[in-house]
Amino acid sequence: MAIAESKSEEIAVLGGDRRRTARLVIWLLVGGLALAAFLSLSIGATGFTPGAAWEAIWASLRGASGNEAALRDTIILDIRLPRTLLGIIIGAALAVSGVVLQGLFRNPLADPGLVGVSSGAGLAAVIVIIGIPIFLPETARLIGPYALPVAAFFGALITTTLLYRIATRAGRTSVATMLLAGIALGALAGALTGYLTYLSDDQQLRDLTFWTMGSLGGATMEKVLISAPFILVALISIPWLADRLDALLLGEAEAGHLGVEVQTVKRLAIVIVALSVGASVAAAGPIGFIGIVVPHLLRLGIGPRHRALLIGSALLGAILLIGADIVSRTAVAPAELPIGIVTALIGAPFFLWLLLRRRSLVDL
């Protein structure tokens, strides 16, 4: 297959130069993320400027808070800060799961949104939003805020596992089968979501319509604290996973000969994707294209080695999602655009450009 060959060539020419470039790019991204977070805290529909943002954070760190500063503190600490943190977490999670899916399928077109994983998580989330209040009102109160992320995780897990089972035969993953299976699974999840939507009342219906466009608008510190552990698991396993994904690029059999525990790596990869996508969908609804745009941009700059790619993607994903969120909340202020619209407006043309540029990679 064309991809595996070009990948191994790329790996073969990897030298010290690429590594130095990668290190430089990652440091630049760290700086970029700091800048993006700063802007995200400083820009919004209200006129609170960078100075006010730092005053508010500084004041709350010292435990002091004036009465006249109440509105400022509300906006900076309760609205912009959780929004920024959630944006970092979800942006990193989606980009990392993009890289992991692409490594797992040895295919640069894998993206949690494109291959139906987000739809699976979304279906589970909709089941919780609509189904549980109807059928199990008591349970809803018991499991509380964790119901949504846990359900979305299982939705994503089931979809990713099914996808991998269908697309892989005798250790070879077929690109065409994966994309088609992803479309089918996405359509199935979409249809079931549609059925539940049909059952819902007007209120739920309209809420869901906006939920499916994704938004960081409802970010709270509670959501940040609930989603963070899901994504931390993925980030912590990066060092262990990176080299093994590199080996997997050569093919499963070859990786096995190199001593890689292929099955374990695949299982871990699936769990990481499910955790990240599940937590993201639960916290902010489905947000597309970060998982495909980010790894690609980075591969252009630093090549396919996974260690740098995973770390860099986490950073760039966070930067891009925060950036998109700044656009979503300032473009039509005081109203707000759903962030899914912004990422799709940026991501879809990029995806088309990618297809035109590297058409041979898809060769269905």
């Binding site: 309760d78 912009r80 809420d207 202020a333 005081p334």
Partner: protein, 315 residues
């Protein structure tokens, strides 16, 4: 010289008048209010109010409090001045916390439908009082909504007066309808996208309006707005079709009556279609008694329903 002095005096008077009117505009008394969601909210200053929801905006205008509005949402379509004169904070169910707070409100007055839930939660915890207006689609429900808004805004007697007028209008409509015997079956169609029709079932505001106009909703075996197929429409056998007027309307009638299912119904055979402005018909605000009277007059053409007296807020 004399004129200079006169000018100065005039200026001083003007400033004093402005101060006095500013003092009158801002009711100084803080009130703790139990809002529509059952929360206790303390309201101290209503001089900069965000009106989130078409009926809230209408009530504020009807009470003559439009000067206290600093922003409205996209459903605030009446009076037309509301959206023309104020910043728009977006669709009622897709509000943005910071966007709302950016207009520096001292009070957010929102309909029960306001969302998304997380954003409402954020706003309820923010330093600006967020008050949910109680909502029930009935004459007494609207009157209660008006009294509530009057109370929150520090104008309880004006609210009471408006509510009483509205209830009197409803009563006079009811008296007129008492002599009407027939109850035509009405099918409310929310939208026809192609040939797919969304119709109103039980528990909808359209259902409530049809009852207020002394008619019967043709479809009550489901709740909410649902897509219905041709056979269900034929089985429902409506005498009249009710729809909302679309802006830039291409006559909906002909396409509608060309629909094979509609053509099979009494409404289709007699070509009976009533169209009304959506917010007027379904808004459940101060104009609803008039809307019910308009609808009743169209539904019972033989009963000669007299129009209700014109009110300042229905012009």
């Amino acid at each position: 010289m004399g004129s200079m002095k006169g000018l100065q005096q005039g200026r001083r008077l003007l400033v004093m008048a402005m101060l006095a009117s500013a003092a009158l505009m801002q009711p100084a008394t803080a009130a703790t209010i139990t809002d529509g969601s059952g929360r206790q909210v303390e309201v101290t200053d209503t001089s900069r109010t965000v009106a989130a929801g078409g009926s809230v905006t209408e009530i504020l205008y009807a009470l003559g409090l439009q000067d206290r509005i600093v922003a409205v949402d996209t459903t605030s379509l009446y009076p037309a001045a509301a959206l023309a004169e104020h910043p728009n904070v977006g669709y009622l169910r897709a509000l943005s916390s910071e966007g709302l707070l950016s207009v520096k409100p001292t009070l957010i007055l929102a309909e029960a439908d306001a969302g998304p839930k997380d954003v409402v939660g954020q706003l309820q915890n923010a330093s600006v009082p967020f008050v949910t207006v109680p909502d029930e689609a009935s004459p007494e429900g609207i009157a209660e909504k008006i009294r509530f808004v009057g109370k929150v805004m520090g104008k309880p007697s004006e609210g009471e007066h408006l509510a009483a007028t509205l209830l009197a209008d409803f009563r006079s409509l009811e008296e007129q309808l008492a002599k009407v015997n027939d109850r035509p079956k009405v099918l409310f169609i929310l939208s026809t996208a192609g040939d797919r029709m969304m119709a109103a079932g039980a528990g909808t505001s359209a259902d409530e309006m049809i009852k207020l106009a002394k008619a019967e909703n043709a479809l009550t075996d489901f709740a909410g707005y649902k897509q219905v197929n041709g056979e269900a429409i034929i089985a429902a056998a409506p005498d009249v079709i009710l729809m909302m007027t679309r802006s830039g309307a291409h006559a909906p009638g002909e396409a509608l009556f060309a629909n094979p299912a509609i053509a099979q119904t009494p409404a289709g055979r007699n070509k009976r279609l009533i169209t009304m402005d959506g917010l007027y018909l379904l808004g459940f605000g101060p104009r609803t008694a008039h809307a019910a009277a308009t609808l009743a007059a169209k539904l019972h053409p033989d009963a000669a329903i007299a129009p209700l007296p014109e009110r300042p807020w229905t012009k």
